[in-house]
Symmetry: C2
């Protein structure tokens, strides 16, 4: 009945451009409407908005919302509006996160806080949050409006939990998992769920796509956290193990603590002893152990569940795209 039921195994990662093909036109529309937002903003911060709304991001979250809306035929452009709200929410939280983390670069570009100061960045972030909240109203759908509000809460909660857990080497895997749900997976989930809701998909499909979004988001953040120990300083413009240096303990660091609970470089770093030397030592131990392999295995479990969530959904082109996206997430780098 469903010819695509046995999808192509995602051995070779597809390019995002190819994966996004079924929603290429809508994504371009999202981009051009985001740019138009800056042009229509009050003169005082037209330039700032133009900068932060620029299309250098991967547009992953709006693409997920759009792809999730493609399982049932649709004549409205509500998913485009939702995709904009989702991306604006993501951008707003990045502005605040970079401000809180004192980051000077994001994707190789200067952050808002480094360009215009932290005070302006706080208010600019608020403004972008409010644009997101206003756009989601244009969908006219109470359910997704509420979900987006709850997701704003989740994002701030995730970042706040991260801040409060900084340098706490006694935190559990469950606390880490909760944090990355709030920080990342919640918005992935909302994007997928809202796309499905706005395409008037049956309830089971909405649940399946929400489930997909959740697991994809968890895998995405896990891989992000792993890459922090793998990427070289030249590639990302920050030292290997930078999260650890900032006090953010991710899965690899927690696994290291678990392996040597009494004395290890992560604990010493958290205690404020020779941070730089202990960062180096922690990276060394992590790279020369099974920790990264074990961490990828955890990410892979989430990937499996993301793929499983799609089973039985209609074999539209977006179905294959969402499957390929799972492969893309873990294959970002090994």
């Amino acid at each position: 009945m469903y010819p695509l039921r046995k999808p192509r195994a995602p051995r070779q990662a597809q390019s995002l451009e190819r994966i996004f093909q079924p929603v290429r036109q809508e994504l371009e529309e999202v981009d051009s409407r985001l740019k138009a937002l800056a042009a229509g903003a009050p003169p005082a911060y037209r330039e700032m908005l133009g900068y932060v709304l620029d299309s250098r991001g991967k547009r992953l979250r709006p693409a997920i919302a759009l792809l999730a809306s493609k399982f049932y035929p649709l004549t409205t452009d509500r998913p485009i509006t939702m995709a904009m709200a989702v991306e604006l929410l993501h951008l707003a939280s990045l502005i605040h996160d970079d401000t809180v983390d004192n980051s000077s670069l994001r994707r190789g570009l200067a952050t808002a806080s480094s360009l215009w100061g932290r005070d302006v960045a706080v208010l600019l972030g608020d403004y972008v949050f409010s644009l997101s909240a206003t756009f989601v109203c244009d969908t006219g759908n109470m359910y997704v409006i509420r979900r987006l509000s709850e997701t704003i809460r989740d994002l701030s909660q995730g970042e706040l939990l991260e801040l409060l857990a900084a340098f706490r080497w006694d935190q559990t895997y469950e606390q880490y998992q909760e944090r990355i749900y709030y920080k990342t997976a919640s918005l992935f989930r909302t994007a997928a769920e809202a796309g499905a809701v706005l395409s008037e998909a049956p309830e089971a499909t909405v649940h399946a796509l929400a489930d997909y979004g959740y697991h994809l988001g968890m895998a995405f953040q896990l891989v992000d956290d792993i890459l922090d120990f793998q990427a070289t300083e030249e590639e990302v413009g920050k030292p290997v193990g930078n999260d650890l240096l900032q006090g953010t303990l991710t899965l690899p660091a927690l696994l290291l603590v678990q392996s040597y609970p009494n004395d290890n470089p992560v604990i010493r770093l958290c205690r404020g002893e020779e941070r730089e030397a202990n960062r180096k030592r922690a990276v060394e131990v992590i790279l020369n152990s099974t920790i990264l392999r074990d961490s990828y295995a955890v990410a892979e479990q989430f990937c499996e569940k993301a793929r499983a969530a799609l089973q039985g959904l209609p074999p539209v082109p977006a179905h294959q795209s969402l499957l390929d996206l799972v492969g893309h997430v873990t294959a970002r780098r090994r």
Copy 2:
């Protein structure tokens, strides 16, 4: 037909407690529900939320929403929900404003940013914004949900415009007026309008109450700005003319610039010359001129329009309360 058509002239300011009498019970409900929010929050910031949601504020904005809902009989508690959303929005913006302004005290209490650091305060503010956005969804009314989102935008815009206009002595009265609309009057307006909408008042009443809220909010901020030049350091814990010292040029300062456009202490302060001496000098000139009287006259014009907006509305007890509130705002201190 309307026995209260000629309302008592607001010569003697009423106490807020007396003014709020028609909605006393609902206001208590707002307070207890706000407190319950802290108890139900994630453990990590239960204490912080409890602190910022504490009932030391005047609850002016929720009272306006509730009073505006009293012109037509109602059986739902939607105005209470709206009043909570309005107060949460106000509190969230205070948290961010205090963070941006580096204020250590608010109403004599330590600010969130001074207690837990600016980073935590940014995220705590986001969390409170999102609580507001989630609560307004509970009203189930698309119109007020959208208005609240737009008001979040206005508040951040107002504070951002203030930040960008800091030390700009060449700004116009129109720019100042626009800024205080975004910063203050917009939320007063939304509170009054939403209360009316949720009581299912006729369109003309909704417009009248929105109009009332706008003018009351403008008068409120004008008086606040005037008081900054009148209150003594002992009373408010900050120097007289503190706004000016921070670079925030309000009506009295702008009138002073207008009177002596070529050379005066405000301009010298803005140019960075002897800020402390020029603050003192500016306060002295302002207090020994007609500037405060002229500023109060502008505030009084807004008060007149706020009162006029209520003409013809049903003579319920809340009508008199809203009139008395206008008197209270300007009589806060002379």
